[in-house]
């Protein structure tokens, strides 16, 4: 069963020890849980400089030569940076991540709308932790860019009703398993919206790889449905689709 983790952060964090001690340690953790690939972003891009932090992560992963196992996610903040999809593809980036609350910008603003539309056309999913956004912010954004592939990450257990409403209204919204922590929440969402709306992500180091894997493997879902969730990230970590940029893995 192929497992791809679409939600991993590496690097130091202000409020806790550095649990993932570099690329080798991350790969060791992935091996122990049977994870073949991961979409990764850098803590510097989250807590420091989004653009510089993302650029450094891309360079770092390229130098580490992970054989394509670690694929960079670009953190975008609408300040000065431009993140055209063609350029991201060329750098080996396969997803974009937004932190509206941490980076202090409104989600449903024209600049984000414009970028989201371009990323959607370029086949790049956009990820956002649910605690970074409000329900109306997401609705406001997706009402203007319904074609966007938006992954709600680390959704927790307190906002199930909001998550369900967004999944119902916007058919290209997905959730990840980083902390999909409502009691039997995975079974509930798959039953209501289909297995194609869930993608495996751990949320490391804030979420737990074993916890996310347990939610799927100890679920009532069929082996086929479990495999679909665990392997869904392959759609994003592979080679760029024709006409969407050049360049291989970072």
């Amino acid at each position: 069963m192929t497992v791809v983790d679409v939600n991993v952060m590496v690097g130091p964090v202000p409020h806790q020890p550095v649990w993932i001690a570099g690329v080798a340690d991350l790969l060791r953790r992935m091996d122990s849980a049977g994870v073949s690939q991961a979409l990764v972003y850098g803590s510097m891009a989250r807590y420091g400089d989004p653009e510089e932090g993302s650029a450094r992560l891309v360079g770092h992963l390229a130098r580490e030569e992970t054989g394509g196992r670690l694929v960079p996610t670009w953190v975008h903040a609408p300040r000065r940076g431009a993140s055209p999809p063609e350029e991201l593809w060329a750098r080996g980036v396969r997803a974009v991540r937004l932190f509206p609350r941490t980076h202090g910008f409104p989600l449903a603003q024209p600049r984000v709308v414009a970028w989201l539309s371009r990323w959607a056309k370029g086949g790049l999913p956009v990820m956002v932790d649910l605690d970074e956004v409000g329900y109306e912010d997401v609705r406001g954004l997706l009402a203007r860019v319904p074609e966007a592939i938006l992954v709600l990450c680390h959704v927790g257990y307190r906002r199930l009703a909001e998550v369900e409403a967004l999944l119902e209204e916007f058919p290209r919204v997905l959730v990840d398993t980083a902390y999909l922590a409502s009691h039997r929440g995975l079974e509930r969402l798959v039953g209501a919206f289909g297995v194609e709306r869930v993608v495996f992500g751990s949320g490391m180091p804030f979420g737990d790889l074993g916890g996310a894997l347990a939610a799927v493997r100890w679920s009532d879902l069929s082996p086929q449905d479990q495999a679909a969730i665990l392997g869904r990230g392959r759609e994003w970590t592979g080679a760029p689709p024709a006409g969407r940029g050049e360049g291989g893995e970072g």
Partner: protein
């Protein structure tokens, strides 16, 4: 087969798990799928390999201890091989009116549960004192919601309770909830040999679990999940991912809590 191997293959835990922190039923602030029914909990327990949970109904921690405790006892009676009960103490009611001591000595009731946060009452206050003194006298474990920064039940406040009742088996539920709380809870456990740390909650990870075990010893860590408030599977998965070894996993997932419950039953506490 290791616990992590079992997880990866979707097989039940090779260690029959005993969950020291569970609830039951719906919750007002958000929806719990399947209304958090006992049947839905048992379905997850079977998948994961959880032999038994010790639970207090959500209603009991939501303000109605009297009716909530009745629901807890009913669940225990409905599935006596799978469910133990905690009786919740309301600090706003007289101890001998709301929680008759005889009720606590029936088979399958294994402890008291205090939720000072929802009851908006400090765990160090007089409203809890009779119950804590009684629990210490009879050796009954007490599970207390423990939350960093709370004016009602911070780890430091639980430390004061432990000082006041030094032979009370005191379980710090969520061990402070946040990373800052984990550090405080570990300090309390180091100072008080009868304090135990229970590991469910949104910020706990395999790394934090290993960090905790390294500081207080594996014998002071107790497994809990908070099911159905939180999905049970995440909590077990963290233990698996920590890869602490079979003996440590068995102590955390089962033996430590059974020892607490058994000591009380044997009258050795």
């Amino acid at each position: 087969m290791t616990l992590l191997q079992a997880l990866r293959e979707g097989r039940p835990s090779p260690i029959p798990i005993v969950d020291a922190h569970a609830h039951l039923g719906p919750w007002g602030a958000f929806e719990i799928p399947e209304r958090g029914s006992l049947a839905s909990m048992l379905a997850v327990m079977d998948r994961v390999g959880v032999e038994r949970v010790a639970l207090s109904s959500h209603l009991a921690i939501a303000g109605d201890a009297r009716e909530g405790n009745r629901l807890t006892l009913a669940a225990k009676d409905a599935a006596p091989a799978r469910v133990w009960g905690y009786l919740v103490v309301s600090p706003h009611e007289a101890w001998d009116e709301a929680q008759p001591s005889s009720c606590l000595l029936v088979p399958g009731v294994v402890g008291l549960k205090l939720h000072p946060e929802t009851y908006a009452y400090p765990v160090t206050g007089e409203g809890y004192a009779p119950a804590l003194a009684w629990a210490e006298a009879v050796g009954l474990p007490v599970l207390v919601h423990c939350q960093h920064g709370s004016p009602f039940c911070s780890p430091g406040m639980l430390g004061r309770v432990a000082s006041r009742y030094p032979r009370l088996p005191l379980i710090l539920g969520h061990m402070g909830v946040t990373p800052a709380g984990f550090r405080e809870a570990v300090a309390v456990a180091r100072d008080h040999p009868w304090v135990y740390l229970e590991i469910c909650g949104s910020h706990m990870t395999a790394d934090w679990l290993a960090w905790t075990v390294a500081r207080v010893g594996v014998e002071r860590v107790v497994f809990g999940s908070d099911v159905p408030f939180i999905d049970l599977r995440y909590s077990v998965g963290r233990v698996a991912m920590a890869q602490l070894g079979e003996e440590a996993e068995r102590r955390i997932l089962r033996d430590n809590f059974l020892r607490l419950v058994g000591q009380r039953r044997a009258g050795t506490v």
